[in-house]
């Protein structure tokens, strides 16, 4: 059986090799900087690869991964948060925050009305705290609307 630690280890080894290769192309050191920019990263890359190799050879017990349904909802939460990150600037603070908070709340506890209320409450409450109590510069609405 292929275990999580093995797959992860192989991925890390590949990343470490790419890291070492990338460091290898950097210039060598000189009199003022004996080691130069490449030596330390190469050491780190080798260290990563060794640790990952140990994980491949001696993997721990399989972690307790959640079922497919939960994994899907985690993936959805991630995608939604990335969408939120992109929406924050053009759409203003209030609407994207209310939606993102409501979705997260629903995912933790699947009750529709409390989730919507949480979204609205957090969005408005945090906006007031951040904007007026802490003085951060936030925009409530899309800037194209307010001019």
């Amino acid at each position: 059986m292929i275990r999580t630690d093995r797959i992860f280890g192989v991925v890390v080894i590949l990343v470490a090799l790419a890291y070492i290769a990338s460091a290898y192309n950097l210039p060598p050191g000189n009199v003022f900087d004996k080691l130069g920019p490449k030596a330390f990263p190469i050491v780190i890359g080798i260290g990563m690869a060794i640790c990952a190799a140990v994980m491949v050879l001696r993997p721990d017990a399989e972690p307790d991964w959640p079922g497919q349904k939960t994994l899907l909802s985690l993936a959805f939460a991630t995608a939604m948060l990335i969408g939120y990150a992109y929406a924050l600037k053009p759409m203003g603070f209030l609407a994207p925050t209310a939606i993102a908070a409501a979705v997260l709340s629903y995912q933790i506890s699947p009750k529709r009305v409390p989730a919507i209320l949480t979204g609205l409450g957090l969005s408005i409450g945090l906006f007031i705290i951040f904007k007026y109590a802490l003085g951060l510069s936030l925009f409530a609405l899309p800037r194209s609307l307010t001019g």
């Binding site: 004996k34 080691l35 780190i44 600037k89 908070a101 629903y106 949480t118 945090l126």
Partner: protein
């Protein structure tokens, strides 16, 4: 005497109304953060750093606020341990063993008062010890050259990694990953961009705040989505709170002993508050013996771990302030605070910025008294706050994280990076890869490389220079021991059964 003039300077800075208000706010927020399961001292402080920074507070004010939160969280963790049998944060884990049985016997109020006073004793003694010990350690630290610093950083990774995981390879891998991330961006010495893949966003490097908030706070949301927040606070009841003077007085030696042991555990790199409370509980259990009744709800069983973890929290500040090497996840976050404020911790801090150091120590002393007031007479307020369901709390934490990082840089790139760190934190926690060494790597990577390069330039490329002084050799030996010893100790030091904690960092 030196100490008193220094403290006078500290109090002259800390006793302004503005600083006092910040200390009170910090203590209040900290107690809430500590009490709420899912939020501990490290992720609580982490989400507040970017916000504090965007508010434009000066160095002393920001430090006072955030260290008050840190101390407050250490006090607050016990509240949910006692009332819900869920540790509010990992250091408060041992408090569940006797605190929850006491609450079941209808003595929740007594348990809260005794543990609150124990927290106060531990934290107060540790803060005094910090003021006494730190200047001496800072003087020793002056003898450190680049070779010694390189060895010291290695020691920090080795002991922290050795303690943090059940698998040494995974702990070491976490450190290497952190270091590898730290090296991304422009190399200040040679001016070459490293590992940016031509992405301009990466040429400044990855901001450690983005990584900390992602790994500590955002990953928590994913954990709660998976578990649907089962560990929520339902049906908390607390009767009238009275002070059980006689019982409290009977725990006086327990509190004092635990404060000493906790402080020492805190000073040791890699140990931190969780180990402090574990060691003190086991010690007191041993001293009391069979008839002590530990585990059935005795006062000493809540006094020991609380005095221990609060003393350790103070002790952990010693290596962080004098050497710039954090001993635990939370002090790593506090190091991030200092670095954000452009304060370089280390021996020079005591000479160059006495205002910061002694203002901080004075503020910690004040914070302790504020916290005693909040956590004993006013503890009912915090019990009310415990009722906040996770379905409100965690979305709130996420949104605060987003606003914090967004107001720092105003770029969606950092936000996406933060989410990716959140996913990484979730996967790592599932796989039992500790996340604290990753943070430590990102924080220290730049200085570690600089010290190594500096050492090599000084010695003309001679590697043996790294092992050329007695201090350096001692540090290297300690590093090897700190990494290897936990493998053998793990079999001997079996932890007693205790409820699952939902926080993996202290």
């Amino acid at each position: 005497m030196d100490l008193f003039s220094n403290l006078a300077l500290g109090f002259s800075i800390a006793l302004t109304p503005w600083t006092l208000i910040l200390a009170v706010i910090g203590c209040f927020l900290g107690t809430i953060i500590g009490a709420l399961p899912g939020l501990g001292p490290s992720n609580g402080v982490a989400i507040l750093i970017p916000i504090t920074f965007s508010m434009g507070l000066d160095a002393t004010a920001a430090l006072v606020l955030l260290t008050s939160v840190y101390y407050g969280a250490m006090y607050g963790g016990r509240i949910s341990s006692i009332l819900l049998n869920i540790p509010g944060d990992e250091p408060a884990m041992m408090t569940t063993l006797d605190g929850y049985p006491m609450a079941k016997q209808g003595r929740a109020g007594d348990a809260l008062v005794i543990s609150g006073v124990a927290s106060f004793v531990g934290a107060l003694l540790a803060t005094i010890a910090l003021a006494l010990v730190a200047p001496y350690l800072a003087r020793i630290a002056y003898k450190f050259g680049p070779a010694e610093y390189f060895a010291l950083y290695t020691l920090a990774f080795a002991t922290l990694g050795g303690m943090a995981s059940n698998n040494q390879a995974k702990a070491a891998l976490a450190s290497f990953i952190g270091l590898a991330i730290a090296l991304i961006g422009l190399d200040n010495n040679s001016g070459f961009a490293r590992f940016t893949g031509g992405n301009l966003h990466l040429s400044d490097g990855i901001d450690f705040l983005v990584a900390i908030v992602g790994l500590f706070a955002v990953s928590e949301v994913f954990i709660f989505i998976e578990t649907h927040g089962k560990s929520s606070a339902v049906g908390v009841k607390l009767g009238k709170v009275t002070v059980p003077w006689a019982e409290m007085w009977s725990t006086r030696w327990t509190m004092l002993r635990s404060s000493v042991v906790g402080f020492i555990a805190g000073v040791l790199p890699g140990a931190g508050a969780s180990l402090g409370s574990f060691m003190t509980y086991m010690m007191e259990k041993g001293i009391a013996g069979e008839k002590g009744g530990f585990g059935t709800g005795v006062a000493k069983g809540v006094a020991a771990p609380e005095a221990g973890n609060n003393a350790a929290a103070g002790g952990a500040l010693v290596p962080m302030l004098t050497l710039g090497v954090p001993g635990s996840g939370t002090t790593a976050v506090l190091l991030a605070v200092l670095m954000t404020l452009n304060i370089t911790p280390g021996p020079t801090l005591f000479a160059d910025r006495p205002d910061v150091i002694w203002g901080l120590i004075a503020a910690l002393l004040i914070a302790n008294f504020v916290l005693l007031l909040m956590n004993v007479p006013m503890v009912k307020i915090f019990v009310k706050i415990l009722m906040v369901p996770p379905a409100v709390l965690l979305p709130g934490v996420t949104m605060i994280s987003f606003v914090g990082i967004y107001s720092l840089s105003g770029s969606y790139f950092d936000l996406v990076l933060m989410i990716l760190f959140g996913v990484m934190g979730y996967v790592f926690r599932k796989m039992d890869i500790p996340t604290v060494p990753v943070i430590l790597g990102i924080l220290l990577g730049y200085q570690m490389e600089n010290n190594l390069r500096h050492a090599m330039t000084l010695s003309g490329g001679e590697w043996t220079y790294l092992f050329s002084s007695p201090i350096a050799i001692g540090l290297w030996i300690a590093a090897v021991l700190g990494f290897v010893a936990p493998m053998f100790l793990r079999g001997i030091l079996k932890k007693p059964p205790m409820p699952e904690t939902d926080s993996t960092v202290d």
